[in-house]
């Protein structure tokens, strides 16, 4: 999906040539880059930065987008994911904006081909490599916001690693509902100090942050914060000794693991949807690239057998 051919055909795209490479000016990029280094040096700490106006609403992934635009160069291959899929509306629009403003880069839908991956709400199923960087779009960066409205106080609590009130909230959930009710953006402790909001990834993806080979950067455009989970770093979801953290279960009523109706995968995060014609509940891999890869290896195996 090289954008070389597409960039010159419309006046709209031509106009983009008058912008700086990557849309942001170099000063904006430098500020974001300095914040990224601080974020890496203080794992889990939310570094404030002056989130620039982007030609899309805040809350549509401008934090992740500004990170991507500050990191990307002509040699890079980018993948953009929205809820596991490369062709849902947020991913398509962000990808085409980056292609338009960064002439010369390549984009791909395959995890293995990308060295820069911007994602909304999922971490790819396929394990990432050391040479890859994952950028996550974050709507609410602060895990303490549910228990403390004042940012000044939250910053002190973070500095002191005082998460007792957050633990009380989790405890109250268990008392009331027999279950911690935070389903996504699960509070995760980085390097035994800061607790981060893990962005709206499902619990399924939280363990992938622990001891990750790839650097993970998180950007919140509206809240103007950048934070990071460096590679080979401890990332522990909050839990209690007697109530351990658990990921989403995909077992049916009989206790059998549901499988993807498309590729038959029994070990991926599944989306549930209703078939429009039959009214039947269907389950499908949320990570579309992973599903395609599984399907491909399945058909290769079948043709080898046949």
């Amino acid at each position: 999906m090289s954008n070389q051919a597409k960039t010159s055909d419309t006046p709209f795209r031509q106009a983009s040539a008058e912008y700086n490479f990557g849309f942001l000016d170099e000063y904006a990029k430098k500020e974001i880059r300095r914040s990224v280094l601080k974020a890496i040096a203080i794992p889990g700490y939310q570094v404030p930065y002056s989130s620039r106006e982007m030609p899309m609403g805040r809350g549509f992934g401008t934090g992740g987008l500004q990170l991507t635009l500050s990191l990307i160069g002509k040699q890079d291959t980018l993948k953009v994911i929205d809820q596991g899929s490369d062709d849902s509306v947020n991913a398509v629009n962000l990808r085409s904006f980056i292609e338009m403003t960064c002439p010369g880069i390549d984009t791909t839908t395959k995890v293995a081909e990308a060295n820069l991956i911007q994602s909304r709400h999922r971490i790819p199923e396929q394990a990432l490599r050391e040479d890859q960087v994952l950028v996550l779009q974050v709507p609410y960066p602060d895990a303490l916001v549910v228990v403390e409205p004042s940012e000044d106080k939250r910053k002190i609590m973070h500095g002191e690693a005082d998460y007792s009130r957050l633990l009380v909230k989790l405890y109250e959930d268990i008392v009331k509902f027999d279950e911690i009710t935070i389903s996504h953006r699960y509070p995760t402790r980085i390097n035994r100090h800061y607790v981060i909001d893990s962005s709206p990834i499902p619990r399924w993806d939280v363990p992938k942050m622990n001891d990750s080979k790839a650097l993970i950067l998180l950007g919140a455009g509206r809240e103007k914060k950048i934070y990071a989970v460096p590679p080979y770093t401890l990332a522990e979801p909050l839990e209690f000794d007697d109530v351990p953290f658990r990921v989403e279960g995909f077992n049916d009523e009989t206790g059998k693991r549901r499988t993807c109706h498309r590729c038959g995968c029994d070990h991926s995060f599944l989306d549930e949807f209703i078939d429009a014609r039959s009214g039947e509940k269907l389950y499908q891999c949320s990570d579309s690239d992973y599903c395609d890869e599984q399907l491909k290896s399945l058909s290769v195996n079948q043709s080898l057998e046949g």
């Binding site: 700086n20 490479f21 170099e26 000063y27 990029k29 430098k30 500020e31 880059r33 300095r34 914040s35 990224v36 280094l37 601080k38 890496i40 040096a41 203080i42 794992p43 700490y45 570094v47 404030p48 500050s70 990191l71 990307i72 160069g73 002509k74 040699q75 050391e130 960087v133 000044d152 910053k155 002190i156 973070h158 500095g159 002191e160 390097n191 100090h193 800061y194 650097l215 990071a228 460096p230 590679p231 080979y232 770093t233 401890l234």
Partner: protein
């Protein structure tokens, strides 16, 4: 090779945006993975590596203290950073052969990002050979790793460990020799394994 900028002038590549993008990506990886050495020789065009680090990171929004006088007067307008006393500086450039005599900003408990970043010029960085052999552990290191540094006063390492003893306060260091870069963020635990006089060359 000198490169042409947008107006057609021939300039040293470290001042150009695409070089700075490539250098930043390397810097980001080096700080994420303490112990990793990146070589910037292809980008430098005879500039010292510390100048490339500064060119990549600084602009008019931040302050710089040049403690050992490594910069020339002509570097300052290009870097755009304002000069500042070392105790208040965001970025501090030092020749590491001389022991530190100052206290850099360590940040505050609620804003540890207000801490200084130190760029230390050493004479050589190597995986095997050097005067001081260090063991590194902590975030970004898969298990543990070792690195050898020459041309650094041992007092730097003791001071650095003291400044970084109360996380999240601390300083982040970028060590440079002529062409190579090593990152030591405040989270890295640095232990001196061995001090050798002959640099490990028997």
């Amino acid at each position: 090779m000198l490169k042409q900028d947008l107006l057609g002038a021939y300039v040293n590549p470290i001042w150009l945006a695409d070089t700075q993008q490539a250098l930043f990506k390397s810097l980001m990886q080096v700080l994420s993975r303490p112990g990793r050495l990146d070589n910037w020789a292809e980008w430098l065009e005879n500039s010292p590596a510390y100048l490339a680090v500064l060119a990549t990171l600084l602009d008019g929004e931040v302050s710089l203290a040049d403690v050992s006088g490594l910069l020339t007067e002509s570097n300052w307008p290009l870097l755009q950073a304002h000069k500042s006393a070392v105790e208040q500086a965001n970025y501090i450039l030092c020749d590491a052969t001389k022991a530190p005599t100052f206290l850099p900003k360590l940040g505050t408990l609620s804003s540890p990002d207000f801490a200084a970043t130190l760029i230390l010029k050493v004479s050589s960085l190597d995986k095997m050979q050097g005067n001081i052999r260090l063991k590194l552990t902590g975030p970004g290191v898969n298990g543990e790793t070792e690195i050898c540094v020459s041309g650094i006063d041992q007092a730097w390492l003791d001071q650095r460990n003291e400044w970084c003893s109360a996380f999240p306060l601390g300083i982040d260091c970028i060590l440079v020799d002529d062409t190579q870069i090593l990152g030591l963020p405040r989270t890295t635990k640095v232990e001196i394994l061995e001090v050798r006089d002959n640099g490990g060359l028997n």
